[in-house]
């Protein structure tokens, strides 16, 4: 990537709110001006320059973030365009309320990945998030458009209150998937024996949709590309919310 690189150099375990560090906001700015930007961290205020080593480059070309032990919250939250690549793990609310662009996380993600920021009624509304590791609870909470693909497993309440959009979890999910789901798709990379609470069994067959999804994700290197089949067990729900959402478990 010929974009800007941010390498964390503070104390390991420091919590940093990254919601202001977005490609569209940093685009066209010099390293010096970016370094001077305020950055909430550890319950106080700091600057980007104090917390990160910056390499020359234009953020419009992409942002590469190396966490090196920091707990980075809200990475790419509210992002509408551009690319962010995280070479490591992120904390909670990564890509929350994201409207567009691409967020790639090589390591694990925390809770509410692509979910809603506190107090806001909607989660992710566009763009693509891909995670190489696993993700925490409430992934894709209140999501309404876009794609999230996680190679590992996701935690409890995956796709909770989802309005629309797609979440694909390679190694399955924790309890209560699709709680309050209205529309949208939760795709699981492993079989699901019993129907989740409030979901009706819709049978097993080949789904054209999975061809389309695989094509959409071409080049991301995600598990969906590698999956050998388009056959999946479909569950429909949440029936308490009208039942237009689906959970697809790969057979």
């Amino acid at each position: 990537m010929s974009g800007m690189t941010l390498t964390f150099r503070g104390k390991a375990g420091t919590m940093v709110d990254m919601s202001a560090i977005l490609p569209e906001r940093l685009a066209g700015r010099t390293v010096e001006t970016v370094a001077g930007l305020p950055l909430p961290c550890g319950g106080g205020q700091s600057t980007v320059g104090d917390m990160f080593d910056l390499s020359a480059g234009d953020a419009a070309e992409g942002l590469l973030i190396r966490p090196i032990g920091a707990v980075l919250q809200r990475v790419g939250a509210g992002m509408t365009s551009g690319r962010i690549l995280v070479d490591g793990d992120v904390g909670g609310h990564a890509g929350a309320g994201m409207g567009g662009g691409q967020l790639r996380i090589e390591g694990d993600a925390g809770e509410a990945l692509g979910g809603a920021l506190p107090g806001l009624p909607l989660g992710m509304r566009g763009g693509l998030i891909s995670v190489g590791g696993s993700a925490g609870d409430r992934v894709a909470e209140r999501m309404r458009r876009g794609i999230i693909v996680v190679d590992g497993a996701v935690g409890a309440f995956a796709a909770g209150f989802m309005v629309a959009g797609t979440l694909a979890a390679g190694r399955g999910c924790g309890p209560h998937p699709g709680f309050g789901m209205r529309r949208g798709t939760l795709l699981l990379g492993r079989p699901q024996d019993t129907a989740p609470d409030n979901f009706a069994d819709g049978g097993t067959r080949d789904w054209l949709f999975l061809h389309l999804l695989r094509r959409a994700l071409q080049g991301t290197g995600s598990w969906v590309e590698r999956a050998g089949t388009t056959r999946a067990h479909r569950f429909i729900g949440d029936v308490a919310e009208g039942g237009h959402g689906e959970i697809l478990a790969m057979a």
């Binding site: 205020q45 920021l117 506190p118 107090g119 806001l120 009624p121």
Partner: protein, 555 residues
């Protein structure tokens, strides 16, 4: 530590002083008489020409407890957008405007010269949480009013005709167990009826399960409060809040008290008539007349101010009605331990809306039509009408007719025709503001050492510059003392202080405790001993400030 405030104009209506120039002495947290020529004060503040008042007291402000915390959660974005850094004096800062966190609550109040605020809706089952939060609010004194009137034990006592004595014992026991200062009733019987699918309950309508009318709940509780000798009369949030035409219910409620003292709260929300094309108009004139001729009655207004806020109430019934108007579009409602309810609905009052504009006008109309400042209190029912930080603006509206008329011209053009606000010439004086925000609240809560400046009173003192812009004056006091310590200078925090929690403890017959214990075992599943709040749990072990049960006889 001896402090002298030299040459100020004292506004101390409780002691008949309306702007007399005199020195004021504070020693170790108390106001003292002039110690004589030999005294050497440790600090002297020259306040010549400035206005000196006791610290202000807010008798109705939702600052702690279950629904306040739920409102904070619901309004998460507000806490994201409005963060305040801590100050060097030890205040931890915090976040929020309509739902401020504890330290922010204390800081915003003391910066305006308020030294006490009372949480008016503490549910028994949430009392411990409320007290823990109040302990964490710095600078100001607090206390809670216990919510009764929808709890099964009381409704059962009334339904089975157990007698007034049993009710009195129960109320006294609950006040003691929850470390409360007064009794409040919210939509008497209505929240309970809501659980049995009633969506409306009028004053004389029989509730679905217990067969008890709101009127009987109201009178039984008002009598209990009177017979127990509590200083603060029953704090009433009546039926039909916010419903057009509810003025009739409100006037009936006044009748229902039949001479017993009663405090009607946020009456602005209970003063709506149905005249005009929109079937929504002001009933303020009729209500003001009724209040003016009933000396046993006191009221607070619950003024609406324009802007974003959130309404948080135990009145599930009313909140469910307003939910479709939520802005932003989200709300919550929940039952609380089957003893009461809770509804939180975010709201944005707009001056371009006919209804909101009229609500604003009705509140001001009430303020200006009620003659006796000893019986009307300055509230916005924080955060339901507006955050309490709007008080300085509200005071300016009351004290400055030209400003008021200018604001009246800005609101929805059809609203002024349905209120008498434009024709009212009254302007509040500084003395009346001092009564309404200091002397009267202290008197109606039975706090004998607050709200005035006589020797012996707590040294809670505010010093203002006498500016023609009353908003600027009340927004930024020159000096604020809490318990004798200077905590605010020129509107900025300079030192940390902690307040106390005020509590009242009427006596009761121990027999009632056995009955309540059985109720806890059978119905609640929580042993009575865990329900009761110990003194050590108040204010981080400092314990409560007890006040005697002395009924204030109404003339």
């Amino acid at each position: 530590m001896l402090t002298k405030l030299a040459g100020g104009r004292l506004f101390d209506p409780a002691n008949g002083r309306h702007g007399e120039v005199a020195d004021l002495w504070l020693r170790d947290g108390r106001i003292v008489g002039d110690p004589g020529p030999g005294a050497t004060p440790d600090a002297v503040h020259d306040v010549t020409g400035k206005v000196v008042m006791a610290g202000a007291i807010d008798i109705h402000s939702h600052i702690a407890g279950g629904k306040v915390n739920l409102a904070r959660l619901l309004m998460g974005e507000e806490h994201d957008r409005h963060r305040f850094a801590g100050s060097p004096c030890g205040c931890g800062g915090g976040s929020g405007i309509a739902t401020p966190s504890t330290h922010t609550t204390g800081a915003r109040y003391i910066e305006m010269g308020f030294t006490a605020a009372f949480e008016p809706a503490m549910l028994g089952s949430n009392a411990r949480h409320a007290h823990l939060e109040m302990s964490d609010i710095p600078y100001i004194d607090t206390g809670g009013y216990l919510v009764l009137g929808n709890d099964d034990f009381l409704l059962d006592l009334i339904a089975t005709n157990a007698g007034q004595a049993a009710v009195n014992d129960y109320v006294a026991w609950m006040l003691t167990a929850t470390q409360s200062l007064a009794v409040k009733v919210v939509n008497p019987g209505g929240i309970n009826a809501f659980k049995f699918n009633a969506r409306k309950l009028d004053l004389d309508e029989v509730g679905p399960y217990y067969g008890v009318t709101p009127r009987s709940v109201l009178t039984v509780l008002a009598r209990a409060v009177y017979e127990l000798g509590l200083p603060h009369p029953l704090h009433v949030h009546g039926c039909n809040l916010g419903v057009p035409g509810n003025i009739a219910t409100t006037l009936d409620t006044i009748q229902a008290a039949s001479g017993l003292p009663m405090h009607m709260t946020h009456i602005q929300f209970h003063s709506y008539d149905t005249a005009g094309d929109r079937k929504f108009s002001s009933g303020a004139a009729a209500l003001a007349e009724a209040v003016n001729r009933t000396p046993s009655l006191s009221v607070d207004i619950g003024q609406v101010m324009f802007g974003q806020t959130v309404t948080a109430s135990a009145d599930t019934m009313a909140q469910r009605h307003t939910a479709p108007l939520a802005h932003p579009r989200k709300w919550l409602a929940m039952d609380i331990e089957c003893d009461a309810g809770c509804g939180v609905v975010p709201f944005r009052y707009r001056d371009s809306s006919y209804v909101n504009a009229l609500q604003w006008a009705i509140g001001l109309e009430l303020f200006l039509l009620l003659d006796d400042p000893w019986r009307v209190f300055l509230t916005t029912d924080h955060p339901n009408g507006a955050p309490f930080t709007f008080y300085p603006e509200l005071i300016r509206l009351l004290m400055d007719r030209d400003y008021r008329l200018a604001k009246l011209a800005e609101i929805h053009p059809d609203a002024p025709a349905h209120t008498t606000l434009g024709s009212i010439t009254r302007e509040y004086t500084l003395a009346e503001i001092a009564i309404m925000t200091r002397a009267a609240p202290a008197r109606i809560l039975g706090l004998s050492d607050r709200g005035h400046l006589a020797p012996g009173a707590s040294a809670d003192v505010t010093v203002y510059s006498d500016l023609p812009d009353r908003r600027a004056m009340f927004e930024r006091p020159d000096l604020v003392f809490k318990s004798g310590r200077l905590v605010v200078r020129d509107g900025t925090l300079v030192a940390m202080a902690t307040g106390c929690t005020h509590v009242i403890r009427p006596g009761f017959d121990d027999l009632i405790e056995r009955r309540i214990a059985r109720h806890f075992d059978e119905r609640i599943g929580l042993p009575i001993k865990h329900f009761r709040i110990g003194d050590a749990e108040i204010r981080h072990g400092a314990g409560p400030q007890l006040h005697p049960c002395r009924r204030r006889e109404v003339p």
